[in-house]
Every structure is written in C-alpha cells, then in structure tokens.
Symmetry: C2
Subunit: 450 residues, 2 copies
C-alpha cells in the first residue's frame, strides 16, 4: 500500500511525518489514520505537528498499515516478542507475530537478544502490517564480548542498520546520566530497565557519560533520514512498588528540533493511588508527547499473573491519558513468553485499552459493548461469541457444558440453568412494562428513589 505513496517522496531530505505535518501537508498516512480512527484528517495533522501524536512509519516498511499513537486517538497496545539466548527461534517468533496481530496488537516490539537477530527482524518486518519497534542496544551488546566493550560507534552502527531495515520506532535510553546513578542506591530492585542497566554498568565501569546522550544529535540525524520514531526509555523506571516514588529523570525532547517523532516511555510498578500523578507529570514535563507505559503493575505478589496485576494499572493509566500500553504476559519475571502467553497478554491489554477508551468517552468506544450486551440479552450466543475479544475461547467455554448445537439458541446457559436465568425472567418484566405499567412510571417519578 505504501509503495506508491513513498515513491512520490523519493529522495526527499526529511521524509518524516512530523516534518510534513509542520509544513501543513496531510500525508497519505495521516489520511489513512484519520479514517481508521474516525477523526478529521486535519486534526491528525495538527496533533502530529504538535508532537502529541506519532505515526511510526519507517520509509522502508512498505507493507505497514499506518496507525497513530496519541491521546486524541484510541488507546493502543504493544506486544513484545523476540527470543533470548536461552530459547526460541525465527519460526516461533513469526508465530508470535501472527498471534499478536490476530488478537489485535497495535504495534509489536522485537526484543530478540540471541541467534540471528537481524535475520529474525527482517522476517518480522516483512510480515508485519503493524509498526515494529526495537531496543538497538540489545543487538549492540551481542556484537561485543561484554558491557564495558560497548562503544558509541557500535551503538550508532546498529541503529543505522536497523533504521535501514525498516524499524518504525526504537527505544533509546538517552535519559540515564552518570550523575543519576547514586539515585539508585536506596532501591530494592535497582535498575530494571534492561537498556538502562546496561548503560548504568557501562558508565559505572568507565566513569564516563551515557554515549546515547552524548551522540543524541547523531541518532536524530539517522532517525530523520528514515523516519524512525523515538521511544525515549525510562531507564530508571521502578521495578517494584517500593521504588515507585523514586526520583527518575524525564528524558529530553530535543528530537523535535530535528523534526523527528517522539514518544516517552513510562513505568513499571506503581500503586493505584499514584497512577494519575504519573500521567500528569509526564504531560507537564514532556510537553504532552505520547506516553507509552509498561503496565504498570499495581502489586508485586503475583508472578504468573502479571498480565492481570498490570492490566489493572494499564487500564487506569490509559484512562488518565497514556497513549499506548505495553503488554505484560503471565510469564513476566519467570521466563520467555510462548505463543499462548502472547495471547493471554494481548487479551488482557485489549481489555485495558478498551476500558480506557470507554472511560475517556472516546467516540463510539462503547458500541461493541452495547451490541454484545444486546446479543447476550436476546440469547444470540453465536453473535455474542463473534463480538467478543476472543471468540474461540468464549465459544469453547460455552460448549464445555452445553455441547449440542441446539444450545446456541437456548434461553439459558449452564451457569444458572433454565429456571434461574435472570435475562429470561427479566423479559417477563418487560412484557409487564409494555402492557400495563405506564401509570406506574408516573408513580415512580413522583415517589422518587428510596
């Protein structure tokens, strides 16, 4: 789809969406996004120009179906895939990609840290209609023996290669500076951002400043050339509730000076009563650049169920204005997620993002809920399954106790049985209301509630 669009921009010096937006041009990508979101194209353009919305769309990712991340559009979710040195290969990662896109991930990050990383990434980009994000310091680290051997040049080399491959956004931990390391001292879990901890170790070893900070302008130049968006890593995000109120710096937004798109990453592990504050602070300090949060988890005591501990925080932070929610799977803290973990994580986050859209009263957000509820009330089981986030699972659960096809039209399920179905009985009340209750409406109105 984008091949034609991109051909027309061939050879332009700054082909970034924010550059076009600032010059008053509505690109085909903006047009497409506006249609998907039911928004005015001019609004999309102005939000992108303002830096409050990004359209991550590397010029080499031609099979991308453009999407937007920003508070004016629907709340998005990201699914992390990628292998580790310990487990998984290309075929499995492609299966995870398909699973992620099938269940509705809006973007996918390839966090591979083992095997043929560029090869896996190439296959993922070639097969993905959604934007692909990476954390280039991971691949950089695989090219050297150990953390102290990393250099700014290796980092930039990897960033340039990934940009040329078509990566749509990259996490760059430019905000963690050597003078912040002592802030980590009082913490229970130290630095839990992998990129942040690599840079922390590097700076502690060399007693030198963060190379991603020092070479930030060079990175901007690469991003500008390919239209890669920044995802500014929050290297000092808390790794447990106890660390949630620590001072952690908000990363810089110099990228805008280079006409490069930016979103800002957020926590992590945050008690519910501090979640709104996180969004307010980010919006204030980062000029409302789209906020991209991991969870947050609202308790630390449920390893094996952190898709749930974090979906609670994610729904709330999405309601308060986060633009994209990075999923957490049940395997978080315990092992590399497999295909089924990916599905579990995505469904939990589709729930969170959708609940956020509803609570923010985004246009039409509740339409699907209402349609499903109508199907439920009229015992149209098949329609109910179709409208649900995971039709196969909903159907399977219903079939488990009532397998015969005739039950798909039954006015009850095995939960209550025929005699105890409230929706069934409630229809008797409706008939009553329809026939004789109109005088009672007046009575109810005059007597008020009690």
């Amino acid at each position: 789809m984008r091949t034609e669009w991109l051909k027309q921009r061939n050879g332009e010096e700054c082909p970034t969406q924010i550059h076009y937006a600032r010059n008053g041009t509505i690109t085909a990508e903006m047009q497409y996004v506006a249609q998907r979101e039911g928004l005015d194209a001019e609004l999309v353009r102005s939000e992108v120009a303002r830096g409050r919305m990004i359209i991550p769309a590397n010029i080499h990712h031609t099979n991308l179906e453009p999407m937007a991340i920003g508070v004016a559009s629907r709340c998005k979710i990201n699914a992390n895939i990628g292998n580790s040195a310990v487990t998984s290969h290309e075929t499995e990662e492609l299966e995870k990609l398909h699973m992620a896109v099938h269940y509705g991930a809006d973007t996918v990050m390839d966090l591979s840290t083992g095997g043929d990383i560029p090869g896996i990434r190439k296959a993922i980009i070639a097969n993905s209609p959604v934007p692909i994000g990476t954390v280039p310091i991971y691949e950089a680290l695989t090219r050297v023996r150990s953390v102290p051997d990393l250099t700014a040049d290796v980092l930039l080399e990897v960033i340039e290669e990934q940009a040329g491959q078509g990566v749509d956004y990259m996490t760059i931990h430019a905000g963690i500076l050597i003078q912040f390391l002592p802030l980590v001292s009082g913490r229970i879990t130290g630095i839990v951002s992998r990129g942040g901890s690599i840079l922390g170790q590097w700076m502690a070893h060399h007693h030198r400043q963060n190379p991603l900070y020092e070479r930030f302008d060079d990175i901007c130049k690469i991003f500008r050339k390919h239209d890669v968006s920044f995802s500014l890593g929050d290297s000092l995000r808390p790794g447990c509730l106890a660390d949630a109120s620590d001072e952690a710096p908000f990363a810089e937004l110099r990228a805008w000076e280079h006409d490069v798109q930016v979103m800002v990453e957020g926590p992590g592990h945050i008690p519910m009563d501090q979640i709104k504050l996180q969004v307010d602070k980010e919006m204030e300090l980062c000029s409302e650049a789209p906020f991209y949060t991991l969870g947050p988890l609202v308790t630390d005591i449920a390893p094996g169920y952190d898709h749930i501990t974090s979906a609670i925080g994610a729904a709330m932070i999405g309601w308060h204005g986060a633009a994209m929610l990075c999923y957490v799977t049940p395997k978080e803290h315990l092992g590399l997620p497999d295909k089924d973990d990916v599905r579990q994580g995505i469904i939990a986050y589709k729930i969170a993002a959708h609940a956020a859209d509803i609570a923010r009263h985004r246009l039409g957000a509740r339409d699907r809920d209402d349609a499903l509820s109508r199907a439920r009330y009229t015992f149209d089981w098949n329609r109910q399954f179709e409208l649900s986030l995971d039709p196969e699972t909903a159907r399977a659960m219903h079939v488990e106790t009532l397998p015969e096809e005739g039950y798909k039209e039954a006015h009850f399920c095995s939960m209550c049985g025929p005699k105890f179905c409230s929706m069934n009985m409630s229809q008797a009340v409706e008939r009553y209301n329809g026939e004789i209750a109109s005088p009672l409406v007046t009575l109810a109105a005059s007597s008020g509630k009690r």
Copy 2:
C-alpha cells in the same frame, strides 16, 4: 474454636455481634478479628457498633474462624460456588470450597440451585472455616413449580431453615419494589440479578408488592436469633455498561433497628470513570454500611476473560472503599465455573483486593510485595515462589524453560538470559555507588533533575 465461646452465650435472646458491640462488649470474635487484622479490639467493637464493619458469624457455625468486612479492615474477597440444575454435585462443590479456601477466599457463597441443596449446604458449612453466604430465594424457587407460585411463607420457611443450619449471611432482595419495575424499560439487559429478576417476574405477575420487603421485620427477627448478617441485594444492578447510570434504589437499613448486621451489595458493570461515584453514593445513602460489590466489569466485550475485566473494576472500587469484592470467574456469562475457574477467579481477586489495600495505605499492606521484590533482586527463586499468590503456577512457569534445580539459584531466567538480566547488571551499579559515587550524590543534588 467457637464452641466454648458460644456456650457462654447460650440462651441469650439477641446473640448478634452488633448487639454486644453496642452494649460495649468486646466478644471473642472481635478479639480474634482484631488480632488477624492488626487492629485494636476496641476499634473493631466500635466499628461493628457503628455498622461500618460486620463479623458474619452465625451462632451455629462453630468451626468458623471469624473475619471482618468493613473499610477499617483489609479488603476481602468472596468466591461463589454452588451447582446449577444442569451441572455439578456435592463432591465437586466441596472440592471448589477447598480450592477457594486454599487460595485465600475470605467468604464463600453457596449459590446451588439444583439437586439436594440443603445437603450440599450442610456439607459446605461443616467443612468451611470461612463465613458461608446464600441467596435463599434460589432454594425457595426450587420448592415451587414456577416463579408465580412463590409465597412469602415459603421464603420465610427457607430463610429460617438456612439460618438454623449456620448460614452466616444471606442476600435478601428487599429493595426492589413494584413501582421501580418501569425503570427497567430503557435498559439493554433488563434485570440481571437473579433474585431481582425472580421478584420482578413475581410482582409483574401478581401486581403485588415484593414479599421480602413486606416481611422484612420478620426476616430481621430470624436473623437476630441466629446472628445472620444481611447482604442487601442490589436487584437493579446494571448488567452492562449501557445500563450503568440507571436509577436504582439503595436498599433499606431497617435491620440496624433489630440489632442485625448489614452489608450492602453493589454493581455490576460500570465504566472506570463512574466507579468512585458508586462508592461515594453508597456511603452517603447507606450510612457507610460495608459495601460488597460484584466486580464491577469495566467492559462487556471479553466473555471468557471476565475475571480480568472485573478485577480492574474491583481493584479500583476496593481502593475507593468497597469492603468486599465478589469474584467473577472466566466462565461468567458462559457456564458454571469448574475448579480451575474458581482458582483463576480467586487469584484475580486476591490481586485486586491486595492492590486496594496498598493504594489505601493499609498498615503493612506492602510488606509482602517488598519481601518478594527483595527475593527477586537477589535471585532467591524459591523464596520468590513461596511469597507469591500461587506458588505452584509461578514455579511451573519458571521450570518450563529452565527445568534443572540448579537454575533456582541462577542469576537470570529464560526471559533475558544471563547476558541481559537487568537485576544482575544493576548490581554492578550498586558496587560503583558503594565505592566511589558519594561525591556524585552532591553533584546530582546540585544539578537537579533534567
């Protein structure tokens, strides 16, 4: 345990906890609760006297380990078990009870609607250290041919029998009155409370007032005799998001006049932005009687995952002051939960209630989180599993990719592998901080955050 305590009160005319509390007596039950909660016994007594806390403890439930429901104590969760006419029997229900208690349900409701209901309930009470709740109208309905055949006498007969068996609290739908039925007209899903819909159908058929309302004083007398607590059913709770703002009456609190303990049931299906309002309204209209909510679900589009859609709402409503959260299992709307659904529901709700305790800053609420996080940071995998809500599941997920016992002390897991473990690398930063960073603390303090 309670046998001795109860012997001393033998033959007393009003053996309810609220009666003793109002007379200034700290009962053994209050003492026990105070110890479990880390609260002052006098505070427990005054909260019970004030009606802001209940200790559901039928005088015939001798093997009960008393617990409290109220905003001053930790947030509680209830697990619904019970068969339907379509599926499940006594053995399975006892297995569900054990599962529920094992994973930490604070109370259990037996909602059986089929087979030998009194027999199942007897076995459940005899085996339960936690309070048992019921909805007596269910059993009443099984004693007649159809809804219109229900009578006030059958209802009271069932209530009296269940009270004599040792049921600790009962849902009584006294708040739905005939003049409210027209309020249901504009709704998508009508009346979804099973009890409410039975009474709705009955009233619509007979054109007569709710018998539970008309005989409320008689019910109070039974409850007073056995110390059964009311759970006042919210018959008109919304069954989908669209119905969430409907007018629904708050039930009466006449029970207090009879020295009977009361809690008030709440919704249901509520968008996130309306959750706080629900608690505020309940507290205002029901004089802060403990609020016992079902979920609420924050979206309708995820049948098969309603333990998650509702855990989000439950955590939030618990934070805002709900005293007990009734769980929802993955099977909700689709079929009768089995043992594994019970486990899934309970864990999701333990997460919600615990997150609420943390957000309300209840004393010591975060201790377990901090201990688990410390174990996580020091790679004490076994300790981490022990401290988690579901140790078996956490361990199994870890073992899945790293089965050998040696990995229980490894400084990484399969998610990141040895080279990419942030907690591992972060310890290098700590050494740096310990050795030479103290001058930098001054630097960081003077340069401020950026």
